[in-house]
């Protein structure tokens, strides 16, 4: 029964987890700042992508109206 409870691998894992405590907060902050950058970029794309695409389509002479006009001519 006692043999089952002894696990040096788990003890090593606990030791590493203890070591990690001093680094944990700084790593978490880095991850959060990286994810918020991603989110920010995502928001910008969400907001402006459709508008940028419309401008791009207009610039390249695309769009339904133009194609109809050329057909009429």
């Amino acid at each position: 029964m006692e043999e089952k409870d002894t696990n040096s691998f788990k003890d090593l894992e606990n030791l590493h987890s203890e070591d990690f405590k001093s680094k944990s907060d700084s790593i978490k902050l880095k991850i959060e700042s990286e994810t918020s950058t991603f989110r920010y970029l995502g928001d910008i794309i969400d907001l402006y992508f459709s508008k940028v695409m419309n401008v791009f389509i207009a610039m390249t002479g695309g769009g339904d109206e133009n194609s109809n006009e050329s057909e009429e001519k």
Binding site: K10, L15, I27
Partner: protein, 199 residues
């Protein structure tokens, strides 16, 4: 915006909530409290595996950060077919092994272990590994090849089944069993070399 509407804190989330449910809620709400729970549960473990494999404190810290980013960015790809912990460990081991492979530090990760099985050697008992002093375990793990080390960590530290290890390593179950056997034999050999006077 979501944070202002739902000011949920990680301490409000019950400990009993399963990883899979935390993931589901995180994907649904994008609330950082759920990320915090996953971070609390797994960051130490990821760091532990990284330092065991990479043998460098700074690299292990960087790896922990990158692995967590990978996990967050791929969270929607978690299918739920395996346990969440298995999925996380799979990302961790593969990330570290890829890093070692890129740095070409350990030839054992570059070539398949072609050494014949030491079938005639006596089977190494689990108790031999599990009852060892932590300091010694640390020394031996530093010395054995990365692939052997990772397979022993998967079996004895992460309690992964042969099937789960075979999914992570993309090897057949019989190949995994053989690899575990060989890794234990290498472990004992290294132990004998290091601590001859006691063996």
């Amino acid at each position: 915006m979501i944070n202002l509407l739902y000011p949920l804190l990680s301490r409000d989330i019950p400990d009993s909530m399963s990883d899979e449910d935390v993931v589901k809620e995180h994907l649904k709400t994008q609330n950082p409290a759920y990320f915090e729970i996953l971070y609390k549960r797994y960051s130490g473990k990821i760091y532990g595996k990284s330092i065991s494999l990479l043998k460098n404190d700074a690299k292990a810290a960087d790896a922990t950060q990158e692995i967590f980013m990978k996990i967050l960015l791929n969270l929607s790809k978690f299918s739920g077919k395996s346990r969440f912990s298995t999925w996380i460990y799979s990302i961790t081991y593969n990330f570290c092994i890829d890093l070692i492979r890129r740095e070409k530090k350990d030839p054992s990760v570059l070539v398949e272990d072609m050494a014949g099985s030491h079938d005639k050697e006596q089977e190494v008992s689990d108790a031999f590994l599990l009852e060892m002093k932590v300091e010694r375990l640390k020394v031996i793990l530093e010395d054995i090849p990365t692939m052997d080390k990772s397979i022993l960590l998967m079996k004895y530290q992460d309690d992964l089944s042969i099937k789960e290890i075979s999914e992570i390593t993309k090897k057949s179950e019989s190949a995994v069993k053989m690899k575990i056997k060989r890794a234990k034999q290498k472990f004992r050999k290294t132990y004998k070399e290091k601590y001859t006077e006691e063996y």
